[in-house]
Amino acid sequence: MDDQLLPPEAAYSNRLLDIQNLSKVFGGLRAVSHFDIAVPEGGLYGLIGPNGAGKTTVFNMITGVYAPTEGAIYFDGTDLVGMPPHLITRRGIARTFQNIRLFQNLTVLDNVRIAYHTHAGYGLVEAISRLGRFSRQERILTERAQDFLAVFGLHNRQLELAKNLPYGEQRRLEIARALATQPRLLLLDEPAAGMNPAETDTLMELIHFIRDTFKLTILLIEHQMRVVMGICEWITVMDFGQVIARGTPRDIQNNERVIEAYLGTRAGRGMALHVAGS
């Protein structure tokens, strides 16, 4: 790797997420190959690359949906490899999905309340008998979920079924639901997909707001350069399952390998000038 591509996070002292030498092979096909990344606590980090570069596979390995073929994923010092997904979530990692995966036939409120299930604060016997802490905890849980929805401007739709929300609100609900698990690290998988530029701008504001309000670390997958360039502090670029570049948005914009990966060689040559010039 060239000198200029040295990972800038080498300077970070506090690595919340530290992935080393991560690989995933699907039936002979190497989807992710020797991937590494170090996300600092409180950072807003972008993971970009063309379609099929392996970004979502990395997310799936972090959240335990896929088991890595090799490598280690340290979250706050603990290796997550081999841990079931729900325990990873309980340790403080939440995510959204590229193709929205809401609980379609449940209400908006229930979607968020399910994310609170781990913190429900009453047991099975109390639930069935409706005695003990049930009523109080259920009220608290509901109110917290409602407050959360209010932050995202969804409180007026709390009894609507998730599948009946328009696209943009479904995306917002998914983020709200992820935040309700009270994570320290939030993984966003192409949050701007399917949004028009105006909606995308709102989303970018929202992501900043979330980070500041909830004191979170955010790792973001994006396919559109514009979004990542606008909000991320650090960026890692993937192509063919490998890291091809890292750096600040400015570094990345001018990196020839990145431009090549994105735009193709021939077109890339011409476009690099435009990008650099803008």
Partner: protein
């Protein structure tokens, strides 16, 4: 979000239940309905309980089980053994069967607790780490499996010992209780204990069966549970090899016919309350989330395997309870009552009523039972054989005309998810979402 005052949702529900209960009881007392129809009403309640259990597993938790009838059978035979023992002392003691069954269940639970305490999974991982330098993975697998088996056997032995001791205590204690309690009271107590045991036996078994099988997912789980049901059927046909009084393929007779409308209806009310309260709690919501999207549920921190086991165990309990009531309704049990053809009944009921609808299941269970039994009466002489020709045609028509069942997932009255209490929701000063009506309309 303020709502006007309205009648609490439980009032109309309790009213309907009361009318149904009093109606049937009164009509029977007045001789308005024959004993046959009185029995059909009880059977309908039994079917409703069993179907509720399957709806919890399939409709709410999304696990496609074809083995429900197996748990129903366990409950039926398990409770019949107890009451029959009280009457005929086939085990040599009026409460011998009861104490054995209770003791074995507690012993099994203890064994599981002990084995769980051994943390075999962690142990296995440790062994794998320690041996991974020296051995191939396959070899480690075999060695660790042997070690784990030995430990598990030790746990089971502890459980077995405990249950034997417990059995001795229980026989003594229960025997004395029987001696001092007047007979009519004791009969009811024994029936209660028998029904409870039918339920817990089925629940324990479904826990044990579910533990390995629930990982399979979708159709494979369905097929494996179907396999369980067939195995149970075969086992019952040969049950006389182990317990002679079960009479195997000849059919178990001499079971007291103690089930009555109050018992059947009471058990139904109990099941409905448990089920509804479970479903309308955080646990219930988590169960439904497993049905909706397993992966999303996992990433919400929901322990999917635990909730699947939970739903399956509760479902098994309801099936066992229903089976116990069935056994004491007709006083005769035969393996063919629990064959595959009958096994589809609860599935048909819940699909007909609507997957994920308790109201639908209740309505469908009563309709289904009355239609099936009604056909027996309505069809003219010589056409009884047509019953099962007409019934599948009904089934086809319903599926073609209403694929989501009678009620879909909608509920009525008290079964509905309670609305969140009305309150002003504080909207934060800085709204995240900038008001942009144009964009809002577009999306």
């Amino acid at each position: 979000m303020r709502r006007k005052f309205s009648i609490p949702s439980w009032i109309p529900t309790v009213l309907v239940a009361a009318i149904l209960y009093i109606g049937v009881a009164y009509a029977r007392a007045q001789g308005k309905i024959s004993p046959y129809w009185y029995q059909v009403a009880q059977l309908a309640a039994v079917m409703a309980i069993s179907s509720l259990g399957l709806n919890l597993i399939y409709g709410f938790n999304g696990q496609f089980s074809l083995g429900h009838i197996g748990f129903y059978a366990v409950g039926a035979y398990g409770s019949a053994l107890i009451t029959k023992d009280y009457l005929t002392k086939w085990s040599g003691n009026p409460v011998g069967a009861l104490s054995w069954i209770v003791a074995v269940q507690i012993g099994l639970l203890l064994a599981f607790f002990v084995i769980g305490r051994m943390r075999l999974g962690a142990l296995r991982r440790k062994m794998r780490d320690a041996l991974s330098e020296a051995l191939k993975p396959g070899e480690i697998g075999i060695i660790s499996a042997i070690v784990l088996l030995i430990l598990a056997a030790a746990g089971l032995a502890i459980g077995a010992g405990a249950s034997y001791g417990l059995h001795l205590l229980l026989v003594q204690g229960l025997g004395r209780l029987v001696a001092i309690t007047p007979k009519p009271v004791m009969e009811q107590v024994i029936l209660f204990l028998a029904l409870l045991n039918g339920g817990t036996m089925a629940a324990l078994l479904s826990y044990l069966v579910g533990l390995p099988l629930l990982r399979l997912g979708s159709d494979y789980f369905g097929i494996a549970t179907l396999g369980f049901a067939v195995m149970m059927y075969t086992a019952l046909q040969n049950s006389d090899m182990v317990i002679p009084t079960m009479k195997g393929a000849r059919g178990m007779v001499g079971i007291p016919r103690w089930t009555s409308w109050p018992w059947a209806f009471g058990a139904l009310v109990f099941s409905v309350i448990v089920m509804r309260n479970l479903v309308r709690s955080s646990h219930g919501r988590a169960m439904i989330s497993v049905r909706e999207d397993e992966i999303a549920a996992k990433t919400m921190g929901v322990d999917v395997n635990q909730l699947k086991t939970l739903a399956f165990t509760f479902g098994g309990f309801f099936a066992g309870l229903a089976g116990g009531l069935y056994a004491h309704l007709y006083g005769f049990l035969h393996p063919s009552t629990f064959n595959m053809v009958k096994g589809f009944d609860p599935l048909i009921i819940i699909v007909f009523g609507g997957l994920g609808s308790m109201t639908g299941t209740l309505v469908a269970a009563f309709l289904f039972t009355f239609i099936i039994e009604g056909l027996r009466v309505i069809l003219p002489q010589g056409f009884e054989d047509w019953r099962f020709v007409i019934y599948p045609i009904f089934l086809l028509l319903i599926m073609l005309l209403r694929q989501q069942g009678l009620l879909g997932t909608s509920e009525w009255g008290w079964f509905r998810a309670p609305l969140p209490p009305a309150r002003e929701i504080p909207v934060p000063d800085r709204t995240v979402v900038r008001q942009q009506p144009a964009a809002e309309k577009e999306s």
